[in-house]
Symmetry: D2
Subunit: 345 residues, 4 copies
């Protein structure tokens, strides 16, 4: 049984079926084909932004470096939680593009509007401000690396403070589907398109083979984005392959009708079953995650035993006799496996 991540199962069968139907077809290159146009229109409709620029890239690190390098002026940095993916797990991809990641302390993966406001105000108040990297944009993950979510009110505050300071807000939605499908969330895809200056709808971790859909809601702010993508080596010749996956996953009259939503909803439901059981058994959870990633602290001995039965993610190096592990569900999670996991724990 596999709970190590949400990208370790093959892709959703609908995508393979759709791929099989392409036999004998001809596609224009580099994302100028009909499937790409169709997928773009579906995303525009779901976001209620007919003017949005939509591009399909291959992976999350790539998307982050392309978007961040596009939005920032050369000497600016990007504000992010100190636990953010771009701050730690991207091998310096942001620095490769010449930009500094400006860390904000965070315990649950989230940052606050007040933190952003203080940072920007302190920056301009510093007598040496012109010698210091200016905060040129804000990066958030949604869900965060800890599975946590912003409320609509929190997102609105973040957006407002960014607009007050005239810096873009960018949302990394590598696992966006799990956020949208969370049980008590009050944030919709349309809210995100309204509140963020750029974001991406993650495919790789939500049932696709690979692919992330970048959305810049105000399409006028995407001038020459195509060439910018190419310059980062992020443009593939058969762009339709990436777009096809989103065209399939995001097909539906409304978001809740789409396979994307239903795949993620399934994963979240199973994660909640697991979570409730864990709470009942008295496990310590470092964060309260309403999405498909659940974290628990267990003893090294228990970790060793668990390894005989399942795969899981080791979240941090062990401290003393304890280790925090990640259990992730996905489109492929069999409810029976959750039952068995609950028995094991």
């Amino acid at each position: 049984m596999h709970f190590d991540s949400d990208y370790t199962s093959t892709c959703h069968p609908l995508i393979l079926e759709r791929l099989a139907q392409t036999q004998g077809q001809h596609f224009d290159g580099y994302g100028t084909d009909a499937i790409t146009l169709s997928a773009r229109e579906k995303i525009r409709a779901l976001c209620q932004r007919p003017d949005a620029a939509v591009y399909f890239l291959c992976g999350g690190t790539q998307t982050n470096m392309v978007v961040i390098n596009y939005l920032l002026r050369s000497f600016e940095g990007v504000l992010a939680a100190d636990s953010a993916h771009i701050a730690i797990h991207e091998s310096g991809a942001v620095e490769f593009t010449g930009h500094k990641v400006l860390n904000l302390p965070s315990r649950d993966g989230k940052i606050t509007a007040a933190q952003v406001d203080d940072y920007v105000n302190n920056y301009y108040a510093d007598p040496n401000w012109e010698h210091i990297v200016p905060p040129g944009m804000v990066y958030i993950t949604y869900p965060t690396e800890y599975g946590t979510l912003y409320s609509l009110s929190e997102l609105e505050q973040l957006s407002a403070v960014c607009r007050k300071h005239n810096i873009p807000l960018y949302l990394d939605g590598a696992r966006l589907g799990y956020a949208l499908a969370a049980e008590d969330t009050d944030v919709t895809l349309r809210d995100i398109a309204r509140l963020c200056d750029a974001f991406y709808i993650g495919g790789t971790k939500c049932g696709a083979m690979f692919g992330e859909a970048v959305v810049i809601p105000d399409g006028r702010r995407a001038d020459r984005f195509f060439s910018h993508i190419k310059r980062h080596g992020a443009l593939i010749a058969k762009g339709w392959v990436t777009a096809l996956q989103f065209d399939t996953l995001l097909d539906g009259d409304s978001l809740t009708d789409t396979p994307y939503y239903n795949i993620c909803s399934h994963a979240v439901k199973e994660a909640m079953r697991l979570k409730n059981s864990l709470i009942g058994k008295g496990y310590t959870q470092p964060v309260d995650s309403p999405t498909n990633q659940q974290f628990i602290e267990i003893s090294l001995q228990q970790a060793e035993e668990l390894k005989q039965h399942i795969t899981y993610g080791e979240w941090e190096p062990p401290r003393g006799n304890k280790v925090t592990i990640r259990l992730a569900t996905s489109w492929a999670t069999d409810p029976k496996d959750i039952d068995k996991l609950i028995e094991l724990l």
Copy 2:
């Protein structure tokens, strides 16, 4: 009928069949899975280099920037034909990594050992050499952008001059299959692995959905290449998807048994049928291409008529009343379409 490029048809059916077989399977992330290991071993065997480092990336521009930036010291440049893909069509991806492309004049896409030797000798003879970007590696395309090929003797001379000057030779094999399957070539994959310091086996333009296989024959020269890939945003989580395509296409006891070879051989055969007919009809070909890309000069009027029946590539902006067009075959080319095209021309 489509002759505009070799990447505008969907992918080869064998790949879709193989993908369908992955249902229900679990794969470790980032290229640490069993399919990646298998594909790597197949490539090592075909190259007769059991020690080779093999990595799977998504596209050609990406591969070029990753490999070139890895092989060069920070202040060095890359020697290439002035018609080379990296010199023109990659939106400055090489410059993005901080390196200058040092142009060598070329009429058919090829460069010679003598040109490289002269360039390096002149560099060190220049009184201002320390102020000038040094030639730190040589980049060639094979086949070239004009479909032309190096002979074994030419490749051996290029390799020898590079080794004399202690600079790596890198071969961009975006269309490598068509070169290996050319009728009169005396160059084998093993020759390439013996003579080059790095090269890639192109997938995107040879029947795959996407993907290029980087080979560094002496694996000791690939230290931390994995992290280097990640830093360029070129690592995808489900690395098995890329590897699977090569594991499928390169399956066989010897290269000529593989689907990769047979796909490309088919395309080359059809291109040769077309070429012979074109010669018979008295067309002017700017270069003599033995591979799947054929170039002919036609009148603007003929070009306009042709557009009613087929897609083709316009190779250069028209000059006067003439335009050079590209006709490309691929795995998907139907021999009957070649028959019809011959009738049209």
Copy 3:
């Protein structure tokens, strides 16, 4: 006797005198001091641009990389003559900032408005334009590396074509003084400030110890230029040292009253004496230079003999029995040395 370059003599005595007068004084750091403000105002007045942004940097390569990287968007390239300093002699500094140098062929170091117009038009006419580095600005040297000058009409045409295509025109004035002091020039400093979007007034090669004064005539286009300079390591703590040199050299009611002009005028006069003599003696000059650099073709034997008496610059590696050498005058050139040189030749 030294004719190898214009930067091999110590600096003009006026600068040392002025430096000596700073004893006991206090200066604010990083160019916020009174001398910097004074030098800036003098330059603004001479350019008749009271709104100009003026910054003082240390050297020519540094200035070029800072200005070019500031003016270009990340994916754009800079158009320049293939003999331009940035194209050859700056160790890839422009590429280090991520930008491609787009070469225009040139025989005398100059480029034409028609070349720029054609390049930009061809760029947008190319079916693959979005995959190609766009021409984002134009770089010219004045005087050129061959000592040649643009006429006012040529400069106006270049400026007009740049404005037509909405790309900035940047003038590298490493030896600007020699151009302004040339005998028959019809171009003034005010013309340059009117026609260019950025330029620099060279100090290092015109009598200073070091230093170049960047001018952006429309100061509103220099937002955060200070931080941009700092990020390139181009800001020195005692900024007054650089500014002092320009405050001294550019002191005067009008340009022709300034030491800068008079220094360069002296050098040009001596160069013209030499040139006229060379013409009289029947020497071949590859270009007709009206400034302080004179080029002649001599035999290798004569070159060897000359070396016993003077230093000179070898301009290119010898061809056959001939070599082109550069003879440069400067503020420090003693007319008696020119007399002796004429005797030697």
Copy 4:
């Protein structure tokens, strides 16, 4: 009276005298002149490293970016205190070269061998290490930004841990003279040359007009450093101007005979007089600095009054009613001014 920094007075008179003596002399360009060779030899002798590579650059930020970018592989980062100059006050110059600054927490500007050892060990212990920026070198300032010093034992431990992990140790000596001239230090210049893989001897803040002398004790590790400098725009044509300042300041049979040492010794002595008085008066010092920078916490009211009489540096934005200020001495500090300052406080 000026106590705001050590770089706000003009330069030491010896340098101006020496400059005046250059009248009428000829110097080869770009640091190939006799003065540069002489200064290089003096530094080699003082360091007891006849094989050292020595280069003269213009400023501290420039030197840091050039050296760090030279020592690191492209995907590596530099370990530094979170208060380090490169981490905060260099406008992202290190990130501009593509490298991440990896922060180590510090309260007095220093880092420990144990911190470095832990960081490197944790890095390789992390299950995701290949996705994380590796610590490729260690950067320390000496004295630190807080005026504090490493003991010989601390430096030896840092050096040992770096050599154990095979990563270079680089020492930023912007104010090195004040460290060498500190009263109780047990660290000599030779120790630094023995324990560090690269360092620089600061000129700008120790009496020069500008300039920093980079020393790579094992000269074999400086291959093509010259071209690397040029590529960063950090090479000036009249290299002798920078070298002359070091040739003057470092003239002497031993370090303690040199003007450099004596200038800094004077500044430290006056700083110690001030410090002892401050302690006597009961001021709170956030750190115990044995060098020319002294920090005290005062009330906002006192700060306002002080401003009427002296210039000082505001070290951090005020907290509540308190502000920490910096009082710096230099070669130019008049002992009578220290007397007056003591009266004021």
